[in-house]
Amino acid sequence: MNDTHTMNMVFSIRGLQAGYGQKSVLHDVSIDIPPRSITAIIGPSGCGKSTFLRCLNRMNDLTPDFYVRGKVMHRDEDVYGQSVDVTHLRRRIGMVFQKPNPFPKSIFDNVAYGLRIHGMRDQKKITEKVHDSLVKAALWDEVKDHLAMPALRLSGGQQQRLCIARTIAVAPEVILFDEPCSALDPVSTRNIENLIVHLKKDYALIVVTHNLQQAHRIADYVGFFHMGRLVEFGAMKQVFEESTHQLTRDYVQGVFG
């Protein structure tokens, strides 16, 4: 851990508390997320892992009564600072959701969407970016001949890769994944996992998952949440095999879930 600490962290979070109205969900979470790596967030249902993820790109802002305290730093920018442009922030911190959510538009327009809303007008440049993003998301070969087809006709796994392509297109630095495979079959899951591993050379990836095998297969670092607290954070092997916390050991061994 010590050598990574000297590197510039993608996220540096201190004393994060969050909740909805009277219900507090996260208590005093502090964590540093290293760049160009995969961090898995694990924990039983209702432990606050999704809320935590959504604090990082301020997706929780959309929920009424949501509150947040503490510091969330992305590089040297305070995510909840007064002068932050949320749209600009979300562009740099991409997010892929549990259920694939392509827009009811063509495959091409789905990927071009982010480029267009951020003001890109040059058709040649858009076409080029759409191509590059679909290649990076390992979807190009399957869709190159029908880019005008409605995205909703793709299979679930393809839709999820399209959503990843759409996110990549606006050139984020971080991509947040909120249980990206839980609505997919095993083959599609494996495709997405391979893709995530492949993407870490360019991006920092934070993956919320309730699938421990998945975390084991892909993660470099693992954070274990329980009842709104970060119980443990460390290298994957350390958390899964050498943990000194009884709770972590019980959870990774399947004593509770």
């Binding site: 979300r90 562009r91 009811p104 606006v170």
Partner: protein, 300 residues
């Protein structure tokens, strides 16, 4: 023995109820067929005396004068211009208020605003008619001195206000039916709320908004009271909204309320005209259904 009687009585009861509700369900079909049959017979009798060609292309409508002309175009023009003005008012206002209610308003604001908007739909149209004649026309005359006391503009605007809650309410339902996940997908890419609304929510709700619009149009072309009161009863082939005109519906009122003998050619004009109105409204309904199917997105 007793138990058997009870079972029998229950079966008879069940059967009676089934027959009763079946009758209720089929009564609407019977009534519709009856209306169409009456319209058809009288329309056919009308067209035995007046050619369809003259009816559809004639530029003058004077069946109540001694020099009778049966060109329906002036009435169509009257209906088209008042409905057009109504839609120009109702569509943007309705869509904007739907967007506000569905995407911007907090729950508390919405719970106050929506019922108030729906009160507009509960105002009797005769009240709207006098509102157009006594209030809106004089106000407009201050802006446009050449505006006649009876005109298409004022009832058109008031009709737009009447239709507003239909468009707004149905469009809002369509917008709220757009899955939250699509909104999140757009926000997550850095869209502002306005961008999300216009590039994701509105296109995804397109079929619902279209059917709201078409329902509004068919309400407008069928609306009678407002135009009968405030538009004048002068069939005139014009698209000028500042002069008195007559719509298809207000002509029917004029004849029905007047002293036209019931078994005359003059009287049968209202069936011919009513039939064309019915066909027009039917066309809009079919178009609406087709568009809705054509553009429906299936969110599984």
């Amino acid at each position: 023995m007793l138990a058997k009687d009870a079972v029998y009585a229950r079966r008879v009861g069940e059967y009676a109820i089934e027959v009763l509700i079946k009758l209720a369900a089929f009564s609407s079909i019977v009534i519709t067929i009856g209306i169409i049959a009456v319209l058809m017979t009288e329309t056919i009798r009308f067209f035995q005396e007046v050619s369809v060609w003259e009816f559809l292309t004639g530029r003058e409508w004077t069946p109540l004068f001694s020099n009778k002309k049966f060109g329906v175009l002036p009435l169509f023009a009257g209906t088209a211009i008042t409905s057009g003005i109504a839609m120009i008012v109702a569509l943007p206002l309705g869509l904007m208020s739907a967007i506000y209610l569905s995407e911007y308003a907090r729950e508390r604001v919405r719970s106050i605003l929506k019922p108030i908007l729906e009160i507009l739909a509960a105002v009797p149209t005769v009240v709207y008619g006098y509102f157009a004649l006594q209030l809106v026309t004089p106000l407009l005359q201050r802006l446009i001195p050449s505006l006649s006391g009876f005109n298409a503009l004022s009832p058109g605007i008031v009709m737009g206000i009447m239709i507003l809650p239909i468009i707004s309410s149905l469009s809002e339902d369509a917008l709220r039916a757009v899955p939250h996940s699509l909104r999140e997908g757009s926000y997550a890419l850095g869209a502002s709320r306005w961008q999300m609304v216009f590039s994701v929510a509105v296109p995804a709700a397109f079929s619902g908004i279209t059917s709201a619009f078409l329902l509004g149009v068919s309400r407008a072309i069928g609306e009678t009271m407002i135009v009968a009161i405030a538009a004048g009863l002068q069939p005139r082939l014009t698209l000028n909204p500042l002069v008195p005109i007559e719509t298809v519906t207000s002509y029917i009122v004029q004849v029905s309320m007047g002293d036209t003998p019931t078994d005359s050619l003059e009287y049968r004009t209202i069936f011919a005209v009513g039939m064309t109105l019915f066909l027009g409204a039917f066309m809009f309904n079919v178009l609406g259904a087709w568009l809705q199917n054509r553009f429906r997105e299936i969110y599984e």
